[in-house]
């Protein structure tokens, strides 16, 4: 307990003062013709005091980070209108601006806020979207992300994924000991919460589909166990501690089952656990390695990694008494599959020689397209809108996170100021 307090204190001291983000997200490559947009400074009802949050700054950062927008710098704005009628359309047109977001933040009598915003097409002088959202003080950041989601969807046609969270594991050395921590953070790197900290390895975080729980593997007690932790309360249960390996948890879409890898029967095999009864159903039966099960979005199939052919490759099995069918044929190494939200492709770790890349396997035609340069990329996970894949990459400074759009046109780097960061898992849409 004492150690914990001390650690969090050190942790706090190490954070930069200006921002409390650990993950510093930078766009390293965007699309060639990003959409021009301006986000005006939001109006604030208590003009005598400073607004509790800079909504336009958060929305600007979200849209910029997506790589699909060219967002005007705040100091370049010719005006910051807060109402439709105050927009000087001809000034904006002269600057070649196509879209503008305007909005207001109002403190209500109850101490909560009313956030309103409008997305306006400058050339047509027409409102594309407009909403008023009531918000409690602690949810203002979330509302800003929801606004970003709406703007993103209206202008790109793709569902936004700004109002989502990412789980990841960090490892840092302190007094020659390694400290493993499972964190969650908002998709923009803010609002970091520590879920578990251990001197023994932690791995394989997996979100439940409702985003309320995380399953993970912990080596506390010098052997592997699978835990399920409630994100809000921090309470957790050990669901699997058999002899041998207990690992690779993955939630069923209905939240009632967990697929996992166990070696209790003498070899690594895939099982499905009924979370109510804790009963197990064995899915694979093979001498080789079978691991990394992941549920298809329709809940009917599992894909997994197996070396039954001599090298790790991806297999699919229909849960109702199916025989495993090999899916990947290109490359000497294909492992750690994750389904795209539409179930039409799988992202995985791919190698043809000495370098490991993030790739996408198209399930319609079996082709594998390589997304990243390697050499040591791993743990890919789709954003819930399917547009980006987040993954871990190893460089000279250790593990870092990065994200790439599925068409390879947009690249982001999610920097951590110290230590290793690994195993990102993008959570579901927040309700």
């Amino acid at each position: 307990m004492k150690t914990f307090i001390k650690l969090s204190f050190i942790y706090f001291l190490l954070l930069p003062l200006k921002t409390y983000a650990v993950l510093d997200i930078k766009i390293t490559q965007g699309i060639e013709e990003p959409i021009p947009i301006a986000v005006a400074i939001f109006g604030w009802s208590q003009a005598s005091s400073v607004a509790p949050i800079d909504m336009s700054q958060i929305i600007t950062a979200d849209l910029t980070r997506s790589g699909r927008f060219d967002v005007m710098d705040v100091q370049d704005l010719p005006q910051s209108p807060t109402e439709f009628d105050a927009i000087n359309f001809s000034d904006w047109r002269k600057l070649g601006m196509e879209n503008i977001v305007i909005g207001n933040l109002v403190l209500t009598e109850s101490g909560n806020y009313d956030v309103s915003f409008r997305l306006i097409d400058i050339y047509r002088k027409k409102q594309i979207a407009g909403f008023r959202i009531p918000a409690k003080p602690n949810l203002l950041r979330r509302v800003a992300h929801q606004i970003s989601d709406i703007v993103f969807e209206k202008l790109t046609g793709i569902e936004g994924a700004f109002n989502t969270r990412v789980a990841y594991i960090t490892v840092k050395k302190e007094n020659k000991k390694k400290i493993h921590t499972l964190h969650i953070a908002d998709a923009d790197g803010y609002n970091i919460k520590k879920l578990v900290e251990s001197s023994e390895p932690l791995l394989s975080p997996s979100w439940s589909y409702d985003g309320k729980k995380i399953a993970y593997v912990s080596f506390e007690g010098k052997s592997s166990s699978v835990f399920i932790q409630d994100i809000l309360t921090g309470s957790r249960t050990r669901v699997s501690k058999f002899e041998g390996i207990n690992s690779s948890p993955n939630w069923s879409p209905d939240g009632a089952h967990l697929a996992l890898t166990l070696s209790k029967d003498g070899n690594t095999e895939i099982y499905i656990m009924d979370l109510t009864t804790k009963s197990l159903k064995r899915i694979t039966k093979h001498d080789g390695i079978d691991t990394e099960p992941v549920w298809s979005p329709d809940g009917q199939k599992l894909v997994f990694t197996s070396d039954r052919s001599g090298s790790p490759q991806i297999y699919e099995v229909v849960i109702k008494n199916g025989t495993p069918k090999r899916l990947s044929f290109e490359g000497t190494y294909n492992a750690r599959p994750r389904y795209s939200p539409d179930g039409k492709s799988i992202t995985l770790v791919h190698s043809v020689g000495n370098s490991y890349h993030i790739a996408v396997l198209n399930l319609d035609n079996g082709y594998i397209s390589v997304l990243t340069d390697g050499p040591l990329d791993e743990s890919p996970s789709y954003a819930p809108n399917g547009s980006m894949v987040i993954y871990a990459t190893t460089g000279r400074r250790g593990g870092q996170l990065a994200a790439i759009s599925v068409d390879g046109r947009i690249k982001q780097r999610l920097g951590l100021h110290q230590g290793d960061v690994r195993e990102p898992a993008w959570g579901p849409f927040l309700k």
Binding site: M1, L195, G234, I245, T268, D290, E378, S379, E423
Partner: protein
């Protein structure tokens, strides 16, 4: 080869030296409650016990002889392989014989992998390596109840580097008495 052998022996001696007087404790794990912003004690009853340092001198045995094949405590593997190289035959024979002659002694075989590729696959690979060693030891006279397996996959590298030399050091099974 000679240099390599000395390294292995040196490492084995080092490991022996450590294990003699180290009191191993289970490290506590902190679980954070996001509501209360405070830690929930994960241990069942909140109490933590400590043992006094073991001051009784340990008996000498042939394990301490650096010339003995028993002093080799690490078996290295090729990439993505759990096959035991023939040069480790005498090592495994010696440990099996020792276990057979000392039925009350037990060991842990700790399987490891290098960092390349996926973590979960490497966890399974580490276990397969440990399992292969165990199977050979059973064939050579050890009893199943004397051997515990654990795999750490790529999570506990012997060397933190990202190059061939480090990876070579990390693809291993450690024999822990």
């Amino acid at each position: 080869m000679t240099i390599r052998l000395f390294f292995v022996i040196g490492l084995a001696m080092l490991l022996l030296g450590c294990s003699k007087d180290q009191v191993k404790e289970e490290e506590p794990v902190e679980v954070t409650d996001l509501n209360a912003d405070s830690a929930v004690d994960s241990s069942e009853d909140g109490a933590q016990t400590f043992g006094a340092e073991d001051e009784s001198s340990s008996a000498f045995s042939q394990l301490d002889d650096p010339q003995s094949p028993l002093s080799v405590r690490i078996i290295y593997f090729e990439y993505d392989s759990s096959e035991i190289r023939s040069d480790y035959r005498s090592t495994i024979e010696a440990h099996s014989l020792y276990l057979q002659q000392n039925p009350n002694t037990s060991i842990t075989l700790e399987g490891h992998a290098d960092e390349r590729g996926s973590r979960e696959y490497n966890l399974a690979l580490g276990e397969q390596r440990a399992k292969t060693v165990k199977q050979q030891m059973l064939l050579l006279g050890a009893n199943s109840s004397q051997i515990r397996l654990v795999s750490y996959g790529e999570e506990r590298p012997a060397s933190d580097g990202h190059d061939d030399a480090s990876w070579q050091q990390n693809r291993r099974v450690e024999i822990l008495y």
